[in-house]
Structures are given as C-alpha cells and as structure tokens.
Amino acid sequence: MTGDAVMRSLGGTMAVPEFEDPAFTTPARPLAESTVAIVTSAALHRMNDDRFAQGDTSYRTIERADRDLVLGHWSPNFDRSGFAIDLNVVYPIDRLEELAEAGVIGAVAPHHYAFAGNQPDTVSELRLDTGPACAADLLADGVDVVVLTPV
C-alpha cells in the first residue's frame, strides 16, 4: 500500500467524537457580500511565533498579509513539499485575494487561524475552549464563511 493509502486506511479505524444535534448555519448573505476566512489544521505559524507542541490544543493567528509561514504539524505522515513549493496548496490565501478582487467573495478576513490537527481523541479542549474562542475571534472580524483546510 502507498503511504497515503495506509494513512487513509488507519483513518477508517480511528474513533471520532460524536456531535449530537449538530448546528447548521445558513449563510447570512450572498458569497459576493461575505467575508471569508481560512482556518487550517496544518499548525501554520509565523517564524517568530511560539511553536506548536505535541498535542497542542491552542491556535495561532495569521495576519492577512503574512506569507512567511512555517508548517508546524508534528505528523511525519503527509507530504510537506507541496507547501514548500506553494503555501496556497494548504492555505489558499492568494486565491482568496484573487476571488475578492474579482468580486466572487465580498472580502478576505483580516485574520486567519491555525490549529494542530493531531489533537487528543476527545477534542474536548477544542470543543469547549479554543474552538469557541477562535469562533469569537472570527465573528469579531465580521467573518461569514470559514474554509477549513487539513493536511
């Protein structure tokens, strides 16, 4: 099996947290009037930010103009060369800028956020603490739509 096939096969056996009565938010306004942010689980951060620790449940803020980003995810099990070639393959910030310029989306959010994907199985801190805190940050910036990218 290829490396990706092994990982996807493992993913099929992983326990996942349950969300009872999941919410479904209908977009408040058309995409062309919406402010869009990216939130990634690639553990991206700026060169001088605190590094992500193993099992880190916190998140880092990325300014809209930042491009000098580090991929801080701890797993050795995915390709990193794509990000080294073009960060947009993980964090499509330049594509969002182009879509805003073209009027497809209303605006690019002033801040974007990064978590580390390898969270404890229960994801309880993400659910109760850092996830809601990040949502509050996004809402404070007037964000309507969030694109979530993994690695």
């Binding site: 938010t25 000098d68 060369s81 070639i85 993400l126 949502a135 309507d144």
Partner: protein, 226 residues
C-alpha cells in the same frame, strides 16, 4: 477539521471543510464538506496551479447553496507519486566524516538559497540548520548500534530532530530540481530511499526499537509505512 466545523457552526459561522479522509468526514458529518482525494498534505491538490486551486474553491463555495448537510467529492483524483525525486546527492567531500554528515554539509548552500527565496523555513522545530550535521553524527552512532540513551541527541526530541533534518533536505532538494512540480511523497521517497541521512534515520530507528526505546520515540521518526 470537522470538529471545528461543528463548533463554528454552533457559533453562527457557515463552514466548508476540504476533507482528505473520506471515512472520517463521513462519520464526523460536518455541515458542508468537499472530499478531495488528493495527496495528503495538499488539500488544494496542486501546488503552483492557481487554476486548479480555484476549481477546488469554486466547488467548495458551491456547497453554500445546500439547505442541509452536504458531502460531495471532487471529481479529480490525484495519486501521490512515490517515485523518488530526481535530485542528485552531493559527492563525498570529507571521507573522514560519516556519509550523512558530509552530505548534509554539501546541501547547505541549496538550503540557504531556498530559505532566502521563500523568506521562511520549516526547519527549527527543535534544532537549526547549524546543528543538523551534529544530530546526524549522533544518529549515525545509534545506527551503528550505540545506545541511544547514552549518546544524547542535540535537541533531544527524536521526532522533532528528524522532522528538522528531513525538512532541511526537502527544502534544499526543491531548490536543486527543475522541471514539473514533484508529486506528493516524491520528496519523502527521495529522502528515505536515496539520501544517507534518510537511511541513517531508518537504521537508527530500528536500533532504538531493538533497544526497547518507547514506541513514540522511534516510530514517529519516519512515516508509519516505512
């Protein structure tokens, strides 16, 4: 990602997940997800291909029209390429050094060019570029059977040190190769199959395992399937 989507939706944000694992996203059932069967680590599919990345985003934003939970699949499948990157290895310079140490020093100029061009490097989780030859010298001893606890590794954390070594090599290699964008895992295959550093890490990992090192210390020094 899907857990965050549920949290964000509950707070009043509309979310779209670009999912990389179908089994997981199906069970997590975030409100809107586009499953992308692309190489892991490349959720937008193709580096340096704005047109393809826009296609992924167009399909993702298209899910906002759904009036209930939706999981769609991007029609393009991109397999990882496990053929090693065609990157030549520096010739031996100082035969008195362990091969991996000599090799790492030979890649330094390419690494520095890559770093200057990108304005960033993902090397430095625990050790910097200056320390990589010393770390490889210790891993070379471990690979030869030295006890891993009695010969301390600069940076200590084996997983972080191996991340930094591999990233140093991959960033340097991408500076040295020309031609089409390498596929997912081509750089990984080159590192572990063709470089002295990659072979040294794999050998050190086996010795640590045999010496009874804790599983996470050695296992995550390399991808699981290696």
């Amino acid at each position: 990602m899907s857990a965050l989507a549920h949290v964000f939706e509950a707070a009043g944000l509309a979310t779209i997940v670009l999912a990389s694992m179908h089994d997981v996203v199906e069970r997590m059932a975030p409100p809107r997800a586009l499953f992308c069967n692309f190489p892991l680590g490349r959720p937008l599919g193709k580096p340096a291909d704005a047109e393809f990345q826009h296609d992924v985003l167009r399909r993702a934003f298209g899910l906002l029209a759904a009036d209930g939970p939706v999981l769609e699949t991007h029609p393009v499948v991109i397999e990882s390429d496990e053929t090693p990157l065609a990157c030549s290895i520096p010739p031996r310079f100082d035969p008195n050094l362990p091969p991996a140490v000599d090799e790492a020093q030979g890649l330094r100029a390419a690494y520095e060019r890559a770093r200057a061009e990108r304005g960033a490097t993902s090397v430095g989780r625990i050790i910097d570029a200056d320390t990589i030859p010393r770390a490889l010298a210790v891993l070379h001893e471990w690979a030869g059977g030295a006890n891993w606890e009695e010969h301390p590794l600069p940076g200590t954390n084996t997983v972080a040190v191996c991340h930094d070594i591999r990233t140093y090599y991959e960033e340097a290699a991408l500076e040295l190769v020309t031609g089409p964008t390498p596929g997912g895992r081509a750089a990984e295959a080159w590192f572990f199959e063709q470089t002295e550093a990659g072979k040294t890490i794999l050998a050190a990992r086996q010795v640590m395992k045999a010496q009874g090192a804790p599983h996470p210390f050695w296992f995550y020094m390399a991808p699981g399937h290696r």
